[in-house]
Subunit: 470 residues, 2 copies
């Protein structure tokens, strides 16, 4: 097992003086080399130590992004696109120095086409902001990673969340992008049609490219009508197995559940403390059903029957909007609740995803591995997709815990990969999973990824050191 921190030793060049001056000239107070600003942009939600960029630029338009990219290209200086800072694998760390390009000021909703069920937004718009803007339209945007991430960042990491089992991930929901290439060209490879066979799928290539192939400045996404009826339920199970098998059978029967989330007893305890809920501390599933009144009823009855047959208890319903909101807010805050359960801790979150038939083996295998952990661990996740997270709560000042957490993560990833699974269902590779990606994709596929990277970013200025070391 390689240390995930080795890459931090890469040699950094200082920021070229001429570049700093040109950026200061153009961006004035929106260019900063203040230590606090740099530190803020040199970390994310991962346990990696802060690794600050040399400067931060706050861009407000695609044209400004072009200007920054061109300057960085001219000076062969690294450039790291920055959205909400909520990534989990060290994506934003300036391991080779350079400029952090903060896009949070690009927060305009460009267009909402209700009649086409699409929205176009600037990259810095967050998922909550978009849904707020959609409130009066009868439409919503379903993709919901734990944090209130930016749409640009969500596209860049191919994010998903609790609704993916029904609505898909960013892979399925991005219709078009505006991207600034490493040369400073602005491209919009696809348009707003729901499907197209026109040439290479550059949109899907940028989705999940983690800022290494271009800077995403606008995103066009699919929207969905708010269902006529929605209903959520909380069910407790006597064992992990019973909970997971309930989800597996639900999926295999084709019940179109909108959400099906597992939470372990420790996670429930953390949530109760953080969100002031009173959930029973047990193996728990949160479900949500979307549809018409009668289809929601049908789905719920089917799932209730499956859960009952497997020993599920205390089917508690949340049909009122405020109860559902409370439930899902608690779920979205689960990661922060877990961090709070061990004050001062940082989380190492695994992110494996396996074919659904291997989910029970994969998650009980992970549980067995984690039973040896000296640190507290919460297990939770989007089990309907075969994707779950083990949040290992580390004291970041204790090297032996860091080492132990990596050892546990390593075993869990390798177990998933041995089951035709992936090391990352939704968080991306970043700094942390480079070796796992190599193992998973194989040398020849990696060679193609590297060739694509070189052909699109020959000087390796775009978020260097992420996805692969090159």
């Amino acid at each position: 097992m390689n240390s995930p921190y080795a890459v931090l030793d890469a040699i950094r060049r200082p920021l070229p003086q001429a570049l700093a001056e040109a950026l200061k000239q153009q961006f004035a107070e929106r260019f900063s080399t203040a230590q606090s600003v740099r530190d803020h942009h040199g970390k994310d939600e991962s346990p990696f130590p802060t690794t600050a960029p040399d400067a931060v630029v706050f861009a407000q338009s695609t044209d400004e992004v072009v200007a920054v990219v061109k300057l960085c290209a001219a000076h062969q200086t690294p450039l790291i696109p920055y959205g909400a800072g909520s990534s989990l694998e060290g994506h934003l760390l300036a391991v080779q120095g350079g400029v952090s390009l903060d896009l949070s000021g690009m927060n305009q909703i460009v267009a909402i086409h209700t009649e086409d069920l699409t929205a176009t937004v600037q990259a810095g718009v967050t998922r909550k902001q978009l849904n707020e803007a959609l409130k009066s339209t009868g439409l919503f945007f379903p993709i919901d990673p734990g944090a209130d991430a930016s749409l640009g960042g969500m596209a860049a990491t191919r994010a998903s969340g609790t609704n993916a089992v029904r609505y898909g991930t960013m892979r399925e929901n991005v219709l078009g992008l505006t991207v600034v290439t490493a040369e400073g060209k602005v491209i919009k490879p696809f348009h707003r049609a729901r499907k197209s066979s026109a040439g290479y799928d550059l949109t899907r290539l940028f989705v999940g490219s983690e800022g290494t192939l271009g800077v995403i400045t606008e995103v066009t996404v699919k929207l969905y009508p708010v269902p006529e009826a929605m209903s959520a339920a909380v069910v407790n199970f006597p064992s992990l197995d019973a909970a997971v098998n309930t989800v597996i059978q639900t999926i295999q029967m084709g019940v179109p559940v909108a959400r099906s989330e597992y939470l372990c007893p420790y996670t429930i305890k953390a949530i109760n403390a953080y969100s002031h809920t009173e959930l029973r501390q047990a193996h728990t599933l949160f479900f949500e059903f979307h549809g018409t009144d009668s289809s929601v009823k049908e789905q719920a009855e089917l799932v209730q029957q499956i859960a009952h047959d497997l020993g599920g208890e205390d089917f508690e319903w949340a049909t009122r909007p405020e109860d559902r909101s409370r439930l899902w807010n608690a779920r979205h805050h689960a990661y922060f609740a877990l961090l709070q359960s061990r004050p001062g801790s940082k989380g190492l979150s695994t992110d494996t995803c396996v074919p659904i038939s291997r989910l029970a083996d994969s998650i009980t295998g992970a549980r067995a591995i984690l039973d040896r952990s000296s640190m507290p661990v919460g297990i939770l996740g989007h089990v309907g997709d075969g994707n779950f997270h083990c949040a290992i709560l580390i004291d970041p000042n204790n090297p032996s815990e860091i080492e132990e957490s990596e050892r546990l993560n390593d075993e869990i990833v390798k177990l998933a990969q041995s089951m035709e699974g992936t090391c990352t269902g939704e968080h991306g590779i970043g700094l942390h999973k480079i070796d796992y990606l190599e193992h998973e994709a194989g040398d020849d596929a990696m060679a193609i990824m590297r060739a694509i990277k070189r052909s699109m970013d020959p000087f390796n200025i775009l978020n260097p050191g992420k996805i692969f070391r090159l």
Copy 2:
């Protein structure tokens, strides 16, 4: 407007003798230079004149594909993957000579994982063959281009069909691929997990690459449970507008229709003659609804109400499986029915796709353009996606008709592109839409596509002259 046939004048080198001998040595009777075999592999369903390869190899395994690719690479000789021969844009024509690699013998179902809702098949397996193999499983594969295309070919052209409005296209339904690269390496970039954020989405890059980046030899696709209830309906409308607006409102209300197909009166007439149906010769929609008994009933009632409000008449139901089959077989044979309606004709099929809000303008605009046609034309398509086809029935021996059909196509494509649409919803670029792709993607996106092509196929041996001229 450029002539789509200009590319056929490209200079061809003769097949290197040493290559022919090596292929003959290894493949014996599965290597052919017979004129009839070559001619058969030098055409597709487009109106392009036959442009034969110099030789044809019939491969039966990924290893054999590797051998052929390596030999062609060593001799810098073009290689064109061939599936069912049903493409529509000249994809298979050997415009630079070389070897046609026939994969129809790679027709093994590798694995059906019912519990994961996935199937892995060799590239030559056709959609009907896969569904036949799924018969006893309670699952089905929804993607259905008109022809009984091969899964490899469907992946290569990013195909879709009548079910895409609910189930998506090959873009959304391919989970993994086995691909032989231009160097003769075998890669399987993703596994069978339903989602992954592990590195560049090479799978999506190969989907729609039309054989220009690698030879697809295996495809893993998503499957779906056969719905508990299905019901189909035929509705007639007094006008094109009324029919199209019914679909637009259906989609905008979020009714999860499985299929919603428009057929013009001329197409209905051709179908009646070809498939011995007795459909009323009018502007017609075919619908299909999937779900539980009650949800199908709800969907159907909603759509019936919308149709009624817009003047729809004669809502005829097909609930028995044999009636539904008959209806959809008639729909799938519509293109051949149209060709038969003008004996000896070839079809130029447009394939534009626009955002749904522009569908009415786009299709009535196309209708107005085609009202000037001297040739018969059928309009039909997957209007729920914003995608429709105008099949212009050309006498292939009449140059003025070919020229006129291209002029009409040109106007229809440009109209769609002016509406944020695409020149191709599902047929691909091939030889025929190269200029339209350039217009649509723009020079800078094209430069990236070319850079990717060069980085993955430096000697341009994989299906050269398709997607772009290079």
